[in-house]
Amino acid sequence: MAGQGASPETIAAIRADYGFDKSLIQQYLIFLWDIIRLDFGKSLVNSQPALGFVLKYLPSTLKLTFLAVFFNSIMAIPAGVWLGAKPTQRRRKILSTIVSVAQGTPAYVIGLLLIQIFSVWLGWLPSIAGTGTWSWVLPTATLSFALSPNLIRVVAASIEETTHQDYFRTAKANGAAPRTLLIKHSLPNALLSTTSLLGAQFAFLLSGALITEYIFAWPGLGLILVQSITNLDFPTIQATVFVVAYLVFIVNLIMDQVFRLADPRLRRSQL
């Protein structure tokens, strides 16, 4: 930090600046006190306050996360409903086979394959972030494709489950049309169990986007975390992990409230 031929005074001054001249317990207490005041110290690489540095990159991660969850929902929920309505039909079985193969495929594998196909072979889409609107397509597609198999399965399973319920049979016996049955009777109940998964996926994305951001050089929390780890920049690592933990906490809290609002039974039991 001070160079090869630094004088002992300079070294001592830097040590004092970082608080290394105090005892370990003192250092730890100071560290805790600083964290309570949301002061994670300065980045060891660029000497900026770590938290502010991390927060500057938060919006782009949030944008990517929202886009991915949005496209994932509009892609996977209809597919899941279609699959769950008649799971034994042959052409729907094809989809369920694709889904179960794709389910375990990690996001970075999907990302690499998409880059290989659409950037290298076809040359249609840019593979690096920050080159205009089109550079949003591949990262969003990667994360949506990575999340959708899970969502499709859960939606399909909950739709199918509702068809075994008594109220569904009653509605069917009363002569409700298949479309009405599906939209009015199956869907609301099925989406209820889907909400919790969406929340979990949102929380997962905040960390799972780590590798995707790295592949696409997307300027977000994930990229910062990876970079600060390679640089052993501890204040930044701590600040990033803190921000992610805080976001996950907030998402969980919001999902609990949404769940309570969406499910009348839960609301009644609370009163």
């Binding site: 495929t105 690499l112 996950v248």
Partner: protein
């Protein structure tokens, strides 16, 4: 009328039961044999090599796949991609096995003790499980690995230390219902101690459920492991693992796309097999419990 109805009903139900039973076992059989085969590759990997996976030959750099020498081509160091993919099986399956075992050990211990105890321990442990389950474990793993370093054992133990919450929650929920069963209550009335009761009555009954969760956890750990290696945080550089190979292939996507396809296929295949095994075990459990209730 009644005769007609019976004719209509009986064949359908019989066929349905036969089919579902058969299919669940079929999934289990196929996935278990595939899984065993992958482990055979991992254990007896030298027999599957076509070349030494770490032998580099710079005159053979970035050669495309051909049937005679390099089935999946060579990488930037002139190493045989096929042999490196084979070598990756031992690393990945080893980490998956160690990590899942450790996670299951921690998860079962915490889950069962949380459910068995009725006092303060339960509150503390079940809160700990809730917190653990809500936090994305990849972030924790990344942070731990940064501090303790790279290599097989650091990575395997770290992943084991972070993957327990799911297993713990399921063990907890299962034990809560199990401990209210008549046979467990009867054992308690006979004066059988907690420890003995847990080992003879709870743990064997937990086994089928834990097997299912363990298979899914295994798949998840494989994803996490290759992801960490891909970021350069898992395996030491140059070790033949799938994550490392993918990371190296990123620089040669235009000139040597084959460097990517071997590890990608291996990752997808292995994770799919583990997930399928979990589904097969799950289906067997379901068909068992429905048969019992019938």
């Amino acid at each position: 009328m009644s005769k007609n109805a019976q004719e209509l009903v009986t064949p359908i139900t019989r066929r349905r039961i036969f089919k579902s039973k058969n299919k669940s076992l079929l999934t289990l059989r196929i996935s278990a044999s595939l899984f065993a085969f992958l482990f055979l590759i991992a254990v007896f990997q030298p027999f599957f090599y076509r070349a030494d996976p770490t032998l580099s030959d710079l005159t053979m750099r970035l050669k495309s796949p051909n049937f005679h020498s390099h089935w999946l081509g060579t990488d930037a160091m002139g190493q045989d991609v096929y042999s490196r993919v084979i070598a990756g099986f031992r690393w990945s399956l080893g980490i998956g096995t160690v990590g899942t075992s450790l996670g299951a050990l921690i998860g079962i211990s915490l889950g069962v003790s949380a459910a068995w105890n009725r006092k303060r321990l339960r509150i503390v442990l079940s809160r700990a499980i809730d917190i653990g389950i809500s936090f994305p474990y990849l972030i924790i793993a990344v942070t731990i690995v940064t501090v303790i370093g790279r290599g097989f054992w650091p990575l395997a133990l770290t992943l084991g230390l972070v993957c327990w919450p799911t297993i713990a929650r399921i063990a907890y929920a299962e034990t809560l219902t199990l401990r209210e069963r008549e046979y467990v209550t009867a054992a308690r009335l006979f004066g059988i101690g907690s420890i003995r009761s847990i080992f003879t009555h709870i743990l064997p009954a937990l086994r089928p459920t834990i097997q299912v969760v363990a298979a899914f956890t295994f798949a998840e750990l494989l994803i996490a492991e290759s992801g960490l290696s891909f970021l350069g945080l898992g395996a030491p550089l140059g070790t033949p693992t799938w994550g490392n190979m993918l990371n190296e292939s990123r620089l040669y996507m235009e000139s040597a796309p084959w460097m990517m396809f071997g590890p990608v296929t291996a990752i997808i295949l292995t994770i799919f097999t583990a997930n399928l095994l979990g589904e097969g075990l799950n289906a067997r459990e379901h068909s068992r419990s429905t048969r019992v209730s019938q």
